[in-house]
């Protein structure tokens, strides 16, 4: 497997990057989560979430208040399940997505999810140490929808490296 990431070599090779990769993806549920048809999928939540948490490069994932998963929050539609997380870089997200047991769930996604037209996944770089919001995620999806892949909103198919310069924490408006 090879991901060609343009530029950014100095920052992302070996050294701690000042940026982390945020991603959100949506799944259009074929049936409510408590439907027997979804049982195998819901049974996979806990082990796959645990696998993500233990994966190299994992930084953060969105969870509902008082729960260890994100099955209740549906900001983008009543049947749109969200999967929202932050990773060290493109490689670590790729390895978790496609080189662990998570791949088997993706392979079987049509058993549980209907085909979704248009944007169902977006990635973007965030300053390391910050936590992305659902509002931001919605904006990035809109950006990808409107402009196609750019450094601000992209996918694995057309990846972009992290911004070349580290954000100046003293700069006005910089988030911490």
């Amino acid at each position: 497997m090879r991901i060609d990431i343009e530029a950014g070599g100095v920052l992302c090779l070996g050294a701690m990057s000042a940026f982390h990769l945020a991603q959100i993806n949506l799944g259009l549920l074929k049936a409510p989560l408590d439907d027997p048809a979804m049982a195998e999928f819901t049974a996979a939540f806990a082990p796959i979430n645990a696998l993500a948490d233990a994966s190299p490069g994992f930084v953060w994932r969105y969870t509902d208040e008082g729960r260890d998963d994100a099955t209740l929050t549906r900001p983008f539609g009543p049947d749109l399940l969200i999967n929202f997380s932050v990773w060290r870089d493109l490689e670590s997200l790729w390895d978790f997505s496609y080189r662990t047991d998570h791949l088997d769930l993706l392979r079987r996604r049509r058993e549980w999810f209907d085909h979704l037209d248009g944007v169902r996944l977006v990635m973007w770089w965030i300053p390391a140490g910050t936590v992305p919001t659902l509002g931001e995620a919605g904006e990035r999806m809109e950006l990808l929808r409107a402009q196609g892949p750019t450094a601000e909103a992209f996918t694995f198919r057309t990846p972009f490296g992290p911004p070349a310069a580290a954000p100046d924490p003293a700069a006005p408006g910089a988030r911490t």
Binding site: R2, D101, R107
Partner: protein, 230 residues
């Protein structure tokens, strides 16, 4: 589409010694000059000569690395280690471009959400291939490995589990662009093929980081207690 460097590279492999060296390196994953020479029973200078020719042609990649555990004078000089290069060589005469067609078809399957149709077609193809061999079907793990080798999977026996790891993904560039789709297709193909032989083995998804196929072949008995070894 087929440039001359591909023909030159293929031409290099016409030499039996070079071909054996190339195969040895790909089987080992990584090999130095001395071990390759020893394995083939040829002089080290000859092995070094041919290995470097293969590297010049882009068939092998070279890395200079200090071999650990060596002390004293001479240990400071890094050894040349060879492995198969990432570049893919395709030689079709007359020129053909099935890879581009495969990528376009995969894109269309994903856009239309027709994954299950592809999986079903792959299952039928696997069963058809298994039936094609009829009485000639593999009977043992070794014979099964031989068949899979012929399909380009580069199988390797693994430890005490009686499993076969597949060290090469024949659909590599497609799988890199469309992982769940291509890996799912491959799994269905292998599962139907291996089940069709009735050799007592099962294909299952077992991706690992790094290169190689995400499917492994395990004895039916091991398949029942799934995913316990991680």
């Amino acid at each position: 589409m087929t440039d001359d460097s591909v023909i030159d590279a293929a031409g290099l492999l016409a030499d039996p010694t070079r071909r054996r060296l190339y195969r040895y390196v790909t089987e080992q994953g990584e090999a130095g000059r001395a071990e390759a020479a020893d394995a083939l029973g040829i002089r080290r200078t000859l092995a070094a000569f041919h290995l470097d020719r293969l590297a010049e042609a882009g068939l092998l990649a070279v890395e200079l690395r200090k071999v650990s555990g060596r002390e004293g004078p001479g240990s400071g000089r890094p050894a040349k280690l060879y492995r198969r290069a990432d570049r893919e060589f395709g030689l079709h005469l007359p020129p053909r471009d099935y890879a581009s067609a495969a990528h376009l078809l995969a894109e269309a399957v994903e856009r239309s959400g027709a994954e299950e149709a592809l999986y079903a077609a792959a299952r039928e193809e696997g069963a058809r291939r298994a039936a094609e061999r009829g009485a000639d079907a593999p009977r043992t793990r070794e014979e099964l490995a031989e068949v899979l080798r012929g399909c380009g999977y580069e199988p390797a026996a693994e430890g005490g589990r009686g499993a076969l790891r597949l060290r090469n993904c024949p659909f590599h560039s497609l799988a890199a662009a469309h992982p769940p789709l291509a890996c799912g297709m491959n799994l269905e193909l292998l599962r139907a093929l291996v089940a069709g032989y009735g050799t007592g083995f099962t294909a299952r998804m077992a991706p690992r980081s790094g290169e190689g196929c995400c499917v492994e072949i395990v004895p039916d008995s091991a398949a029942d207690s799934k995913n316990n070894e991680d």
